[in-house]
Amino acid sequence: MEKNDMLINIVLFSPLVGIALLLIFGRAREERIKWVALVSSLVTLAFSIILLGAFDQSKAGMQLENLGEWFRLGNYTVSYYVGVDGLSVLLVVLTAFIMPLAILFSLYHVKDRVRLYYSFLLLLEFAMIGVFVAQDLFMFYVFWEVSLVPMYFLVGIWGSEQRIYAAVKFFLYTMAGSILMLLAILWMGNHFGTFNVMQIKAAIEAAAGTPEGAFPSAVTELLLFLGFFIAFAIKVPIWPLHSWLPDAHVQAPTAGSVILAGVLLKLGTYGLVRFNLGLFPQMSVTLAPIIGILAIIGIIYGAWVSYAQTDVKKLVAYSSISHLGFVVLGIFALNAAGISGATLQMINHGISTGGLFLVVGMLYERRHTKAIDAFGGVWKALPVFSGLALVITLSSMGLPGLNGFVGEFTILLGTAGSPVLGLGFAFFGTIGVILAAVYLLYMWNKVFMGEYKAPAAAAHGDFALAPATGGGHEGDGEDVHADHGHDDHGHGGENPYPPLMWNEVTALVVVVVAAFVIGLYPRPFFGYMDASTNAAAAELSRYIPNQAASENIQAE
């Protein structure tokens, strides 16, 4: 027991230890830095798996908790309160799983300001794990906002030519949302006299039956709900608050995109489940149809726009909007199947879309372009790579036997059977699945099949197919990249597609294996979350009119 008490702290703070080691070892030799970072992220992964092992699947509430006082002022105490339930423990493991992949990919591709780069990656990991385990509103907000800073720098320093615009837009857009959440958090803290999420939740559940209710008025509850919802909706992103995402994704370095898609967007969906459903059940029930419609629009819009893209990375970025629409749909189905499916789909999307961004990154490192038209017949040059890419594409599409199918199927099942959404929503969701097949297969077909396309000319600097390299001094980083492509891969030679390096193969194989494991044997994953999602759904059902009535009849 004693050992398990500290476990969650170890998982949370191990990336910080990694940063400290980076700063110590990095001084002597730059070469070592990346290995230190990789090992550090693997250690975090190992501890998170131990955490998973220590997790008791039969319990619905928080486990492996740590509760202490952080600081206090007057009558208010801000606690250091960390803990996991079935939802957050899986997301912690996802974070720890995606991070080594991102670092693995970066090993030979990032050569500029290496120490800073890996420090920011590990800082990001710390903040993201923090968001998933913090059970105090103050702490949660701290981690939530801190996660902005490293991502901002990752996009801003190591991104493509429009990186400054994208980084600033990402920062301001997200901050504008979260600052409203801050007001809601402050209001909650004042009203309930604590920032402890579990205590607030208990107070709200206790007040549910009473005539006064938990909140002074429905309008107050609506405003609070929106305060949280808008912050999360921007992060997810839910249509129409998505416009930062394509910019950030396209401009971010590959590892940044992988983490952005893999984990960062899940901060939003996690928040929706934990705070919007958890603290405002009544409002969630009331607004579920509206949010369901937004989710449907997101699914179809994302797919539609994806299909229209000429840039591979943008295509994958818009596909994220579509896929996360499913997750939101599942969450606001407000039943066990929907929430479980959404949770699994969060993980699936992390793996599949993270994998797709790795594929795009590897293509880019070889050809220095992201334009779909520039590619063709990659299959002939790199059959193994293309095969792995196909599996990842299919998993993102939701082919049975792979991970995406299980999540989407469960979500649609939950949506169809949902007392607040119903069959109509499931129907439009299904259209989204079909559209996903269309644009993803179109992409794969154009890039990997068809006529073999080599770069137009071999002359130095003629990456004519690439979007214009940034002009003037802003293009510095880009030029470095380009040169290195030349030297390492003999880009000007006859083969524009040098074989995969060991780190790239490893990253892709790990993604593919994960896709198969979840696709063929999802039972254990549902096992972890079942108790928590059932409890959440049972709590929500008290607020759904028909259901509550029918239960009363049964009781009589």
Partner: protein, 516 residues
């Protein structure tokens, strides 16, 4: 006749020792040769240290001196600590800058000590007359310091502008004091409150006018819109170390006085009889001046932040940002005008000071965090600035991240702290200020506050973008003292952000015990 035993001079020692030290130092400095001014610096640092120790030793004592004209309580103590920290860093960053720009004249240090003691007296004034004297003690040396780069025209303009407008605002303050005296027959803060409470407010209009003029006079000192117009020019023209120190010390002193006057003398004036309440019913009542202060706060935040966006010079940018921050602290002042009233078992109203105390503490924590952050930011500006006072444009920060990663890193921390990103002191300050504003029932004001802080993120980010994302020379010179001060400020900013206990511990002891 005067009976010294009732004077309780000991209570005033922290500020008094500093003022005396400054006078002695002024004489000693005459015999310090021009090239050995580090002696004066060291002596003045020792003076600040001594005062700091005395303050620490006297913390927790509750008392008054000179028959209620000077109040020594935890509020005084915390204000003293903040001012002394500002003075210490302000002295440290000044030396090398003064030396390399050829203005290393010894009177700089005693003058700075005098302004510090003025700011400390402002926080402890128990009487409007003392307040006025303290304000002048704070201001007059600052006018001189602003013109320290003579015969540089911009510096002289800065001093002239500051002096003229400052004298003008002192006039408002004096008039306000006179009207208040006319209304209440006393200038003692606690006595004013007692008389208002006892229903002796013979002419509410006079008191209202007096309060308004006090607000104008002090609002000028802390640069609240619409009394802010001097700020950008003075901040830009004054030598940067003076600006760094002034942007903090004058603000701490001004807000300390404002909080003291508003919460001690005028908390509930014009309140009349409290309403009948049902048992256990809780309502929030608002002081008569609260709306005015809230509107000033909103205007200040909006104007400061939006105008800062357009700035291209780091000193002007920080000037507008300091106006914006005055707005955030003004929010806490507004919040200090709310009182919670609960009906007891028989419906008789019981006034609680919880909200006002929270606001008071929030303002102090904000000021503490702001002190380290803002001086630190100006100090980095000093490192980048060239000897001829050029090099203060944002463009001069380009490439700093590559050339001087530690300077740029520290500046990044300061900018994030001013934005209010967690794990920095600025966030902790904002958290408490917003929290007390929400609790005071001023949700709309808090909303304006958070929205304008998104605007502020834009221009603070621009500094970060310049340093890290744009290529440039990144020239800077940070000699050990300056570098040490910057590192100290950065660490302090982070410590307040990660372990706020260190500041909240002091703030927690601040109460409104004198209000009964």
């Amino acid at each position: 006749m005067l009976d010294l035993s009732t004077m309780n001079i000991g209570a005033t020692l922290p500020a008094l020792s500093l003022a005396l030290g400054a006078c002695i130092l002024l004489i000693i400095d005459l015999s310090v040769p021009k090239e050995r001014k580090e002696i004066t610096l060291t002596l003045s640092l020792i003076g600040v240290g001594v005062s700091f120790v005395i303050t620490l030793l006297s913390l927790g004592e509750q008392g008054s001196a000179f028959m209620g004209m000077y109040i020594a309580d935890n509020f005084t103590g915390m204000v003293n600590l903040i001012v002394l920290a500002a003075a210490f860093i302000g002295l440290l960053v000044a030396y090398d800058y003064l030396k390399r720009t050829g203005m290393n004249r010894g009177e700089y240090y005693p003058l700075l000590l005098m302004t510090a003691s003025g700011a400390m007296f402002m926080g402890s004034a128990g009487d409007l007359v003392v307040l006025l004297v303290a304000l002048e003690l704070l201001s007059i040396p600052l006018y001189i310091l602003s013109g320290f780069r003579r015969p540089d025209a911009r510096s002289e303009e800065s001093a002239m502008k500051y002096f003229l407008l400052g004298a003008f605002s002192s006039g408002f303050l004096v008039y306000g004091i006179a009207l208040t005296y006319g209304a209440m027959g006393t200038t003692n803060l606690a006595e004013i409150f007692a008389r208002v409470q006892a229903g002796q407010n013979t002419s509410p209009f006079l008191l209202l006018m007096g309060t308004a003029l006090l607000l104008v006079g002090l609002g000028f000192k802390v640069a609240v819109v619409p009394f802010h117009l001097w700020t950008p020019d003075v901040y830009q023209g004054a030598p940067t170390p003076v600006t760094a120190y002034m942007s903090v010390a004058a603000k701490v002193g001004g807000f300390a006085a404002l909080l003291r006057v508003m919460t001690l003398a005028l908390p509930t004036f014009a309140l009349g009889a409290l309403p009948e309440l049902a048992p256990d019913q809780t309502i929030i009542i608002h002081a008569a001046w609260q709306d005015t202060v809230a509107i000033l706060a909103a205007l200040t935040m909006i104007l400061g932040n939006f105008v800062a966006v357009a700035q291209r010079d780091i000193k002007r940018l920080l000037a507008y940002s300091s106006i914006a921050h005055a707005g955030y602290i003004m929010m806490a002042v507004a919040a200090a005008g709310s009182f919670q009233v609960t009906g007891d078992d028989f419906g008789a109203p019981i006034t609680s000071l919880v909200i006002a105390e929270e606001a008071l503490r929030g303002a102090l924590i904000y000021l503490a965090a702001y002190t380290f952050t803002n001086i630190g930011a100006f100090a980095v500006g000093m490192a980048v600035e060239r000897n001829d006072a050029t090099g203060t444009l944002l463009d001069d920060f380009a490439g700093l991240g590559r050339a001087r990663p530690f300077l740029a890193g520290a500046m990044t921390i300061f900018m994030l702290s001013l934005t209010g990103i967690p794990l920095t002191g600025g966030f902790v300050g904002k958290w408490f200020v917003f929290f007390s504003t929400m609790n005071a029932g001023l949700g709309l004001l808090a909303l304006i506050g958070v929205l304008t802080s998104v605007v502020s993120a834009y221009y603070y980010l621009r500094v970060i973008v310049k340093m890290w994302l744009e290529a440039g020379e990144g020239e800077a010179s940070a000699p050990p003292r300056l570098a040490g001060a910057i590192a100290f400020c950065a660490v302090a900013t982070l410590i307040i952000g990660v372990l706020p206990t260190l500041v909240t511990g002091f703030a927690d002891a601040v109460t409104l015990a004198l209000v009964r």
